[in-house]
Amino acid sequence: MMNSDTALATGMFALPMIAMALFLFVWCLMGLIAFYLSSRARHGKSRGAFELERNARGLMLLKNWLSPAQLRSYEKHEYFEVVGGDSGVIYRIHHGKQANVEQLDGLGASVCAWCFVPEGDLVPGDVMLAQKIGLETNERAALAVAVKYLTLRSQSRGTHARPLSLVS
């Protein structure tokens, strides 16, 4: 009789305790999940701001180094033209950071595209400025490392342009 009373009393005490512990556990777990999600959102937001800032810095630097005509063209069309320092050939540098240099013929028609970029994870403004400096001051060296493409990537309708050496 004593034992069953004790067991009953223990059960009446233990069950609410277990329920409370479970409730606390779930509450803490939800709090941790909410904290994790909000910190991820904060990190994403600051990363977005970081990307915007570094892109803006790159574009500001590029614009400071363009000629007035190149700047007008870039602001209107998102490309500008440079004259190769060695050959006099005209290249059109499109906004971008990969396979964005187009070689033009005397009539302004596209001949091919070139891909050469400065090493490292640089923003488009920096990439385009390095391409401009390379073509205008040391065209041969720039093209010596470049990969030649049949067309610009943006003109290949979403597919990757093939290097000219691979195009039959």
């Binding site: 630097l61 990969q98 400065p118 994870d121 920096d126 400025l129 390095a130 391409q131 205008e136």
Partner: protein, 73 residues
Amino acid sequence: MAIQIVMDRMGDTRHTFDAGDRIAVEKAKKRFMELTEAGFTAAVRTGPGEQRIIRSFDPSVEETLFHPRLVGG
């Protein structure tokens, strides 16, 4: 004040120095040497939209831009 602009993943990093300060000039020269030895190209503006490459440090240049080595994409 003279400035050295180094392209990097932040967009660029700018180092200003007083061309009349011997210690600052030495520091700028050391930076120039280190960057060019690491493959960076140093360019200076010669007019609107015009530039030339320099191979040695010139303390009288007001603005020097360093871009990393060009590689095929």
